[in-house]
């Protein structure tokens, strides 16, 4: 097994160029999938027999919630790789993840509240799923606050990486909270081992949104990553070429 690809991925100029080239390959499919998913979810899918048109919140709530967990997991893995192998690019990936994850965690909480009011009769309940998701938002904000508070990028990378890695215990807690405790929140209907419990006309737009959001994360991550790579390089000649062109 050759490890050259691994070394190349640690090289800032290579990563910068790769991120620039790859961005449209994530952005355009993401845009098409999200537009298609919105059309399918808002127009083509039939109203739910219990929740009527209120169920359509699922097409923005579930992808946002998925993003909140997937982005955090990516951030924690990147942070761990950065800590263990001292790879700057890995720290740059982790730092790029946080604002993306925080914004979608916020969206997941707000859309969940807007769904909770008509279906459960309350915007908010100190329920295991809701509370652990709120803690996730605080983890993201704590991570960003910690980074903002440390002037030296290397120190910020190491300190925030420890926080990201420790906080990852919250991810399985959020996912399994609806099975471990008696929660208001419904059990998973797509992210489960058995077959999903939805009709195809409702499920396909949801899968398009989930994939579209995931690719969107890739595109935004790549743009942010370029900035974070630049921030970590001091007087490297390759940067001179990039910023002067």
């Amino acid at each position: 097994m050759t490890w050259t690809w691994f070394h190349r991925l640690g090289s800032p100029p290579y990563i910068y160029g790769l991120a620039t080239r790859l961005t449209p390959w994530f952005a355009w499919p993401a845009a098409l999938l999200i537009i298609g998913g919105l059309w399918g979810g808002l127009v083509l899918a039939p109203a739910d027999y219990q929740q009527g048109d209120g169920f359509r919140i699922i097409y923005v709530h579930a992808p946002s919630a998925w993003m909140s967990l997937m982005v955090y997991t990516t951030m924690a893995i990147a942070a761990a790789v950065g800590l263990i192998w001292r790879i700057k690019v890995a720290h740059a990936v982790a730092a790029s993840c946080a604002p993306i994850g925080a914004s979608f965690t916020f969206a997941a909480l707000v859309t969940g509240a807007l769904w909770g009011q008509p279906m459960w009769g309350t915007y908010w309940e100190w329920d295991p799923r809701l509370t652990s998701e709120l803690i996730l938002l605080f983890l993201y904000l704590g991570y960003m606050g910690l980074r903002a508070g440390l002037e030296d990028t290397q120190r910020a990378d190491r300190a925030s990486a420890v926080l990201a890695v420790v906080g990852v215990v919250n991810v399985p807690i959020i996912h399994y909270s609806v099975t471990w405790w008696n929660s208001l929140h419904q059990a998973p209907s797509v992210m489960r081992l058995a077959k999903p419990t939805m009709a195809a006309s409702m499920l396909v737009p949801l899968l398009m949104m989930l994939l579209g959001f995931t690719l969107f994360f890739g595109a935004v991550l790549l743009v942010r990553l370029r900035g974070e790579v630049l921030n970590r390089e001091r007087s490297a000649s390759w940067i001179r070429e990039i910023v002067s062109t």
Binding site: I34, L38, L42, V43, A47, G52, D53, G54, R56, I57, V60, H61, P63, S64, P99, I100, S103, F104, F106, A107, V110, T111, L114, W115, Q117, P118, F216, V220, V223, R224, R226, G227, E228, L230, N231, E233, R234, S235, I239, R240, I242, V243, S244, T245
Partner: protein, 54 residues
């Protein structure tokens, strides 16, 4: 058409939910591009390079 916007009586919950999520998408694009532009500007100043980049 107005039937569509009424969302079976759930309009006050459905449309704000979509608005918040689409705002998150748009803001992520804006913020990411702004962050990259700032990093490029910082790098340019740090290295004393002149010129306008894309």
């Amino acid at each position: 058409m107005s039937h569509f916007f009424e969302m079976g009586g759930y309009a006050v919950f459905v449309w704000p939910a979509y608005a918040v999520t689409l705002a998150a998408i748009v803001l992520n694009v804006v913020w990411a591009r702004r962050a990259l532009a700032r990093s490029r500007e910082d790098a340019r100043r740090r290295l004393g390079v002149r010129g306008e980049g894309p």
